[in-house]
């Protein structure tokens, strides 16, 4: 059915990710409450950073623990260019921010990918913390502990995306782009390379794969999207300070991926949705929500390595199997009746 309507896989991917983006926008029609709107925007921004990050952590198996630093660089470059030191239009600042983050990540990738496993995770953690401390101390560019305020919202001509409902449209467009580009990379050659690197990167090298190049590609790709998410975050918040870009921001990404389901594209999306909803539901229990989240992480890692999306797919497969079993039972009965 779906196959006949949308014959090519890319058409299906475009439609699929459009639906994810459209749901975000449509939810805005349902909620005219500003609080929930901001929640939707935050979730969307998290998705922009975390879907590409899922390729790095889930598909390739390299758990970077410093994405918070790249988010921060994106946010501060935009802040510095639009208000702190210059007065460039945010539409120009965003691409510059992306390029800065990309260049930074690419430069560090040479050193970081001499590391694997724990060493890589701790190396990226150190990089994230280093960047955080830089935000805190480089007053000229970042405003130091007080941060940067007055970051503008983007505009097209006279149309300023000033209200939260308008801003959500921009965020949704980028969610679509992040999802689609990640999908586009994950299929075919790159996807094959990423999966092989996760399974056995030495073997992949011995069979002719330029492992380092693919690792650098994906690391930079994930960092660029994290930078864009940071730029949008700055624009949403209007003012930013270092406390938003600590190691906990990096851990947050890791948590979205593991809870949602590592190694899939939709897993991180589901992780963001789930944790956003969970945060609302258990907000009344105060600090205990961190406890619940911590327990969820432990349980997921111990017993449900596929995460939520893995669980959903398993149930789906079970249901299909049951249905086809029913059907074949029916058809054998019919055959016996004849």
């Amino acid at each position: 059915m779906i196959e006949s309507l949308l014959p090519t896989r890319s058409a299906r991917a475009i439609v699929g990710w459009s639906i994810v983006a459209a749901i975000l926008v449509l939810l805005w029609v349902l909620v005219d409450n500003n609080y929930y709107l901001r929640l939707l925007i935050s979730a969307g921004i998290a998705m922009i950073g975390v879907i590409p990050f899922g390729l790095l952590m889930g598909h390739m198996g390299y758990m970077a623990m410093g994405q918070g630093g790249f988010i921060g660089v994106g946010a501060y470059v935009v802040g510095c260019l639009t208000v702190q030191r210059f007065e460039i239009d945010i539409w120009a600042a965003l691409p510059i921010a992306i390029m800065v983050v990309g260049a930074l990540a690419y430069a560090f990738s040479f050193a970081l990918f001499r590391l694997r496993g724990y060493h890589f995770s701790i190396g990226t953690l150190a990089l994230g913390q280093l960047l955080y401390l830089a935000f805190d101390s480089w007053e000229w560019a970042t405003g130091g502990p007080h941060g940067t305020s007055g970051i503008p919202r983007p505009a097209i001509g006279e149309f300023v995306f000033a209200t939260n409902s308008r801003f959500l449209i921009i965020v949704s467009v980028f969610v679509f782009l992040a999802g689609f580009t990640s999908w586009w990379l994950a299929r075919g050659h790159v996807g094959r390379a990423l999966n092989a690197i996760r399974q056995d990167e030495d073997l992949a090298g011995a069979r002719g794969l330029d492992v380092l190049r693919y690792k650098q590609l994906i690391f930079t790709f994930a960092a660029v999207w994290a930078g864009l998410a940071g730029g949008l975050y700055g624009s949403m918040q209007i003012s930013i300070d270092p406390s938003s870009f600590t190691i906990w921001g990096s851990f947050q990404y890791v948590i979205y991926v593991i809870i949602g389901g590592a190694g899939t594209l939709l897993g991180p999306v589901i992780g963001v949705i789930f944790i956003t909803v969970l945060d609302q539901l258990i907000a009344d229990v105060g600090v205990w929500n961190q406890m619940i989240l911590g327990a969820l992480i432990v349980i997921t890692v111990l017993f449900f390595r596929g995460g939520l999306w893995g669980g959903i797919r398993m149930l789906w497969a079970l249901a299909l199997k049951n249905r086809s079993a029913d059907r074949s039972a029916v058809s054998t009965q019919a055959g016996a009746a004849e």
């Binding site: 999966n195 069979r207 002719g208 794969l209």
Partner: protein
């Protein structure tokens, strides 16, 4: 003699252990040579150095006169040097045919005109099919490595290495866990490839098989090259008897 592989002064040290000590030798083109030595002699480390899984501390490696010791491992593989592993390695989430095809995609089209063993001609699908047929793996084409018997897994690994269309294949203890019949079955396949121009360096602990099969043998001990020669020469070498053959009997 026309050497395809020239090893010069290759060394590697791990902390206090000199795993490979100034090893030099040549492998003649088209030959099937053996590398033997007791446990911990440094055979696997030697293969790792040549295939660039590890970087040598000193020394050089020439493949067809071309230095490969400074290349990253994937370029060594693409230059025509493939290897298998002592502890069997395949992509465990991929089927047998996918494993073979993957290496084919990364290795690129077969470039060496003078080779003619199975799996070199045609498109990827044909090459994969030919390799699987040659190793009698066609029935297992969609099986995951974990679902294969030890014998089939070994064959799949060799097939994956051959999918790179190498000039030189290094096999690290391919017969471990094999019966004599199974070992000779694999050897028969390898001999077919040798007729097609493939050069092979074979490592194994099964002395009986090695002495019978290899045209020329190198003996390592404590990281250094202890002796080399035909099987008759090696068999008669007092030092070899002392460190290795003597220990077995």
């Amino acid at each position: 003699m026309d050497p395809i592989l020239e090893i010069r002064d290759l060394s590697k040290r791990f902390g206090g252990v000199e795993a490979v000590k100034a090893v030099s030798f040549d492998v003649p083109r088209g030959s099937l040579v053996g590398l033997i030595g007791p446990n911990g002699a440094g055979k696997t480390t030697f293969v790792n150095l040549v295939s660039k899984h590890e970087s040598p501390d000193t020394g050089s490696v020439l493949l067809d006169k071309r230095p490969i010791h400074r290349l990253p491992s994937f370029k060594v593989a693409r230059a025509g040097l493939a290897r298998t592993y002592q502890k069997n390695r395949l992509f465990f989430e991929e089927s047998v045919s996918e494993n073979i095809r993957t290496a084919m995609i990364w290795g690129g089209a077969a470039k060496h005109q003078d080779l003619s063993y199975p799996g070199l001609k045609g498109k990827e699908e044909e090459r994969t099919a030919e390799l699987m047929e040659f190793f009698a793996l066609t029935a297992q084409r969609d099986a995951l490595p974990s679902g294969l018997s030890h014998l089939h897994r070994r064959r799949a690994e060799v097939a994956q290495a051959l999918a790179l269309a190498p000039k030189l294949l290094m096999l690290d203890e391919p017969f471990a866990g094999f019966s004599r019949e199974e070992a000779f079955d694999l050897i028969d396949h390898l001999k077919v490839c040798q007729k097609g121009g493939l050069t092979m360096l074979l490592i194994d602990h099964n002395m009986e098989v090695m002495l019978e099969v290899c045209e020329y043998l190198f003996v390592m001990h404590h990281g250094a090259l202890l002796a080399s020669g035909t099987s008759a020469e090696v068999r008669a070498n007092p030092e070899v008897i002392n460190v290795y053959l003597g220990a077995e009997t």
